[in-house]
């Protein structure tokens, strides 16, 4: 399964902020953590991570400093700020609302309206069979 572009774009900010909430990290580590969290299903151009990080920096959601990595290369480490944590909390709430609404739709839960004496339970498989 591949997530579509708009969804990736919308989820990138809260994902990055969420990862940084667990501790500071450099770009590559963030990319790997996203891959791990989404089982590699969120596919995107990883280069796009950097303009996003720079934007979050400008907005004051993250701060950054340069450090030297184990291989002796300069790397930039990002850390979340209080403002970023607040933004993350807000985004998470927004996502929870959407996600809860979606799962209510998907769950087989109590029948919403089935005037035909329970035949709705049977209608769906039949319909699927016809379509197949």
């Amino acid at each position: 399964m591949r997530l579509d572009k708009e969804l990736v774009a919308a989820s990138a900010t809260p994902l990055v902020l969420g990862i940084l909430a667990g501790g500071e990290a450099h770009g590559y580590a963030i990319a790997r953590r996203i891959e791990e969290l989404t089982d590699g299903q969120l596919s995107w151009a990883e280069g796009m991570l950097y303009p996003l990080l720079h934007r979050l920096d400008r907005l004051g959601y993250v701060t950054s400093h340069w450090a030297t990595g184990p291989a002796g290369r300069r790397r930039r480490i990002y850390a979340i700020t209080e403002k970023g944590a607040a933004a993350l909390a807000e985004r998470t709430t927004q996502w929870a609302v959407v996600s809860a609404a979606l799962s209510k739709l998907a769950a087989p839960g109590p029948p919403v309206a089935s005037p035909r004496l329970g035949t709705a339970d049977l209608a769906l498989p039949r319909l699927v069979g016809v379509m197949a």
Binding site: A45, G47, M48, P51, H54, D57, G69, R73, R74
Partner: protein, 457 residues
């Protein structure tokens, strides 16, 4: 593929990245680090070197798309092209933009030259020059970027309000010379008008930090173009006057009455057009000048500081000459404005995420010296004011001095955090951009409130 081959491939990839104007050194470092880690990660997972390299490159994504995204975030790198650039989607007939610009320039030229021959008194022109010229510049940006209606009506109301103030305030004249409050209005109204132009330049989105920064950049380049025009125009007029003199014709009245004011007016629009249209020619000249003059300015202030201290140590104590001069505050306001300008333009072309360099240490040195000298001056001036009482000039100079002091003091703090790699430059940019309206409001207050406060003298 050996490690050396991979290094060569990575270097080639980096060179290609570097050919995109949107990407700067530190971005390349970040992306290269990402690529190399990706390669070693994939190799550790059992891939061959060349496979690892190919997949790593692919995962970073299309370079063009990535650099476009960088360009969108870092408008300082391509500001002129991005904001006002060649508009590749709107080719249009080639003569039309030129015709619009030339008619706006002609309007600006006439709006200064015609009253110059009608009004008779120079005072009216001096008070109204900014109000006469600003609409043409605003018109230029309104045409170029389409100004939304609320901004348009806001600017119109502000323009009318300031026009009423400039012409209805009963300024008192002393020996047919304009009084102090009138001169203050003449000096501050252009600043107010320039911020009005800024609203039009930002297409009404003046709250946006990046739009503000773009206007600061525009201002720097505009001033440079205008100075070049003034230089060229002066040479041309001088030669013309000399040539006509040889023919036995005295061209001086025509030049003084018509050509000079028309040139002063028309050049405002033409300079704005050149900054936005021909930005490739002298792009980002202001930051270069700032880089050159920052150390020189620091040296000048340091010499001044040593001079003051030497005089004070010379036993004359409070008799230090420079501190006794009444114009010292105005002089120091000008110096601080210059320091702020150097800081702003050093900032305007800089990558806010880059690591600090020598130039940033120099800027910090300049800020600290300027603050030390200014605190000395301020203390001296406050004593003077408490002894001799307030005058319009002293109050305005003192107010501006305090505004600049607050700005520069906080800037020095942010700059010191930056050079010690505690912060990026982003907070500094936000601070400066948030402070811009303070200057606008201050100039507005000087125009509106100070004259009645001091009885229009």
């Amino acid at each position: 593929m050996t490690q050396a081959q991979i290094d060569a491939e990575v270097a080639r990839w980096r060179d290609y990245l570097g050919s995109h104007a949107e990407l700067r050194g530190p971005d390349l470092d970040e992306l290269e680090d990402h690529l190399r880690e990706q390669v070693s990660g994939l190799r550790a997972a059992g891939l061959h070197d060349d496979e690892a390299f190919l997949i790593a490159v692919k995962r970073i994504g299309s370079i063009d798309a990535v650099s476009r995204e960088f360009g969108r975030e870092h408008s300082e790198r391509l500001w002129a092209q991005l904001i006002l650039g060649a508009d590749p989607e709107q080719p249009g007939p080639g003569w039309r933009p030129l015709a619009v610009v030339l008619s706006l320039a002609a309007g600006a030229a006439l709006s200064l030259a015609v009253p110059n021959n009608l009004a008779g008194t120079g005072g009216w022109i001096a008070r109204n020059a900014a109000l006469l010229l600003a609409p043409w510049l605003v018109g230029y940006f309104a045409w170029r970027r389409s100004l939304p209606r609320p901004a348009r009506s806001g600017l119109l109301v502000a323009w009318a309000g300031f026009a009423l103030v400039a012409n209805l305030y009963p300024f008192a004249e002393a020996n047919s010379e304009p009084g102090a409050t009138e001169i203050l209005l003449i000096l501050h109204l252009p600043i107010v008008a320039w911020f009005g132009v800024g609203v039009a330049h930002a297409a009404g989105r003046w709250r946006c930090e990046q739009e503000r920064m773009d206007f600061v950049r525009f201002t720097g380049e505009w001033v440079i173009y205008y100075a070049l025009f003034a230089l060229g125009g002066g040479v041309l007029l001088g030669l013309g006057a000399a040539a006509f003199q040889m023919l036995g014709v005295d061209a001086a009245p025509v030049i003084g009455q018509w050509i000079l004011p028309a040139g002063i007016g028309g050049a405002t629009v033409v300079a704005a057009w050149l900054v936005t249209a021909k930005q490739g020619v002298v792009e980002n000249m202001a930051p270069v000048l700032a880089a050159v003059f920052t150390p020189l300015m620091a040296l000048l202030l340091l010499t001044l500081l040593v001079g003051i201290l030497a005089q004070a140590a010379g036993g004359r104590g409070t008799q230090v000459l420079i501190l006794a001069d009444r114009n010292i505050l105005i002089l120091f306001d000008l110096i601080l404005v210059l320091v702020l300008g150097l800081l702003l333009y050093a900032l305007s072309a800089r990558d806010p995420h880059g690591p600090p360099g020598l130039g940033d240490w120099l800027t910090l040195t300049l800020l600290v010296i300027a603050l030390v000298v200014d605190v000395l001056m301020l203390a001296a001036m406050l004593t003077r004011i408490s002894q001799y009482g307030a005058s319009p000039n002293k109050v305005v100079a003192l107010g501006l001095n305090l505004l600049l002091l607050v700005n520069l003091a906080w800037s020095a703090r942010l700059q010191s955090l930056f050079v010690r790699s505690r912060r990026t430059l982003t907070p500094m940019i936000s601070w400066q951009m948030a402070y811009l309206p303070v200057f606008a409001v201050w100039a507005g207050l000087v125009v509106l409130v100070v004259p009645p406060l001091f009885g229009f003298r």
